[in-house]
Symmetry: C2
Subunit: 360 residues, 2 copies
DNA sequence: TTGTATGCGTTATCAA
DNA sequence: TTGATAACGCATACAA
């Protein structure tokens, strides 16, 4: 296997200087057509691909954006997958158990948005899991800026990195830091949702089913819930009725617990869709009717919320736009490092569907 | 804003040579504890982050894997998202229209698998959209190897890149190329699915609802369908009854067309889940019962297949494992460039649920 | 329009 | 255990 070709090889073969070869790639308009042709022929001939590292080093820019992935459950992944091709197929009954749908749609959508927007600006996206410092500042060193979900990177590390490249935090309010932030309007969204249940459906017996106590999203949503109640002149709880961990299976558990305790309120306002769907599962399983007996609402607007029966009334947050806005903010910051810290908030939409009784 | 610090700055501050600074990062065991402490202090003090490009250039390896994303619909993304924070919330009725769920779960899962496995091996993942050459060999130049979904990169370009770095193709059979391939057992899976419908449910009137004619996956699945019929002594169709484009909305259209034409067979074996779900929607909408009147089966095992009513009997392919296997193959190839071209096939599982009548 | 020469920030090879 | 120094492959300012 021959050494991989460099500018020098291409230059030699084309009978030009390396500067010209470089120009053909970077400033084609400053090279005569004849020369361009010769160089391109040499490139094809040799199978030349410019070295990204050398290019980044010389140009002092990486041309890539870093995306820092939270270290979610299941990322361990266990052993490498089996690979065989003997045509065997396992056949199994698959009852509707407490299965957790695989993908975290939220993450996927954010990633997709990031990817789309970065691509539009000619940037690549490099992804790394935020576990341990190793691979992580492996990331920081190879990108022009970084996007991270709130609470995925230890604060000390993040601060260290932020001295070097701009950082944009998605979801999570500014906590005395100087990063740029992009979030969705959790408070207003949940407030509107709450008021809708009260106003449109005449319900005054609402309870909030929360998520992890340390989630800023959950915090804001509960606050929105309280503000909604307050606006309606309903007494405010100081704590959510119950807390889950944002998963559907946990939601089911909470739902069952509620039923067993015999204290199911007229409406359950849940902090995210997965929890709401789990609650829904549990209620229906015990013969309760939604929305006739209990109203259930969610937050996020994941796909599953519109395929459930009844479909879930929820607050949709523009997940893909979250990623896009983060990239936009990052690029703006790159263009103007002295700009004051930005805080972007994306609007949400209350989607009225069957689970609140707006549609049959 | 001060110049970003380099090894030289760290070395100066710590009173050592740049070689030692480098060692502290690469071979910590070859440096005395005292020196290490001094260097680390300097690093923290200066906010030093090693340059990925310089590192890759000198080490002759990028430490990253490239993932090439197909240029799917909707990637244009339109204008940048609106960002405001005035607390306004739109509220809208959301009837169950012909909405297409947003994310392509298949892609997301493959990406996730890639990410997971790469992370386990200390590699970053760089993603780029396969549109135009520009950003694309931007990718090739900055990674140690590349994973691509079949048919996402023009063959000429791929060949060019493959001269430079190893390429692994996901989904899609070898077509005279020398790349490594990873796929799932489409043929065996669909054959097993087909035979199940015949054997367990006594159906001999089956039809195949296919996907795009140029999809290798679809081709293999139809072939599996035919093999299943053949094994059961049932006459073989030479073509699918209908073809969609693998989307749910198109599936709905096909379902409606079937009903209107008045020729709905006893069982509809669909080439993927989205198509099957669309068909399901259409059948139910016209009052037909599934599985009592018509059996519907899918392929892929996306989340939506287990939240539909009835839930979809399908062939699950391990999407996440696909990504993982691709990374494993790539790393093995990197370790042994002379290895003959590999072809990996991952096993599939037939999941028996309500839509075929195995479960009530 | 093209060529020359220097610098980019590491790693790695030798010596010490 | 540490240090000096030569690559690494490209971009770019400056000359021609």
């Amino acid at each position: 296997m021959p050494k991989t070709p460099t500018v020098y090889d291409v230059a030699d073969l084309a009978g030009v200087s390396i500067a010209t070869v470089s120009r053909v790639f970077r400033k084609p308009h400053k090279v005569s057509q004849a020369t361009k042709d010769r160089v391109n022929a040499a490139v094809l001939n040799l199978g030349y691909v410019p070295s990204g590292s050398a290019r980044s080093l010389a140009a002092r820019r990486a041309g890539a954006i870093g995306l820092c992935f939270p270290d979610f459950d299941g990322i361990d992944g266990g052993p490498a997958p089996i690979v065989y091709a003997d045509g065997r197929v396992i056949e199994q009954l698959d009852p509707p158990e407490d299965v957790e749908p695989s993908g975290d749609l939220y993450l996927s959508e954010v990633m997709l948005g990031t990817e789309i927007e970065a691509w539009r600006h000619g940037m690549a996206v490099t992804i790394a899991v935020a576990r341990g410092d190793e691979i992580f500042d492996n990331l920081a060193g190879r990108v022009d800026g970084m996007i991270t979900l709130s609470r995925t990177v230890p604060e000390g590390l993040l601060a260290h990195i932020a001295r070097h490249i701009p950082v944009v935090v998605i979801a999570g309010t500014r906590a005395g830091d100087d990063y740029d932030h992009i979030g969705t309007d959790n408070v207003a969204g949940m407030q509107a949702m709450t008021r809708h249940v009260v106003d449109a459906h005449g319900v005054r017996d609402l309870a909030f089913v929360g998520g992890p106590a340390d989630s800023p999203d959950d915090h804001d949503r509960f606050e929105g819930f309280r503000m909604g109640l307050h606006a309606e002149g309903i007494e405010l709880p100081s704590e959510p009725l119950l807390r889950g961990d944002f998963t559907r299976s946990h939601g089911r558990m909470l739902g069952r617990r509620l039923v067993e305790a015999g204290r199911v309120p007229r409406a359950l306002v849940c902090s995210n869709d997965q929890t709401a769907l789990g609650v829904l599962d549990a209620l229906l399983a015990t013969g309760l009717r939604v929305p006739e007996d209990v109203i259930v609402t969610g937050f996020d607007g994941i796909d599953a919320s519109q395929t459930s029966r009844p479909r879930l009334t929820t607050v949709r947050q523009p997940m893909r736009e979250l990623g896009r806005a983060a990239v936009d903010t990052l690029l703006r910051r790159l263009g103007d490092p002295l700009m004051p810290p930005q805080t972007g908030t994306l609007p949400v939409t209350v989607l009225l569907r069957e689970s609140c009784g707006c549609l049959a």
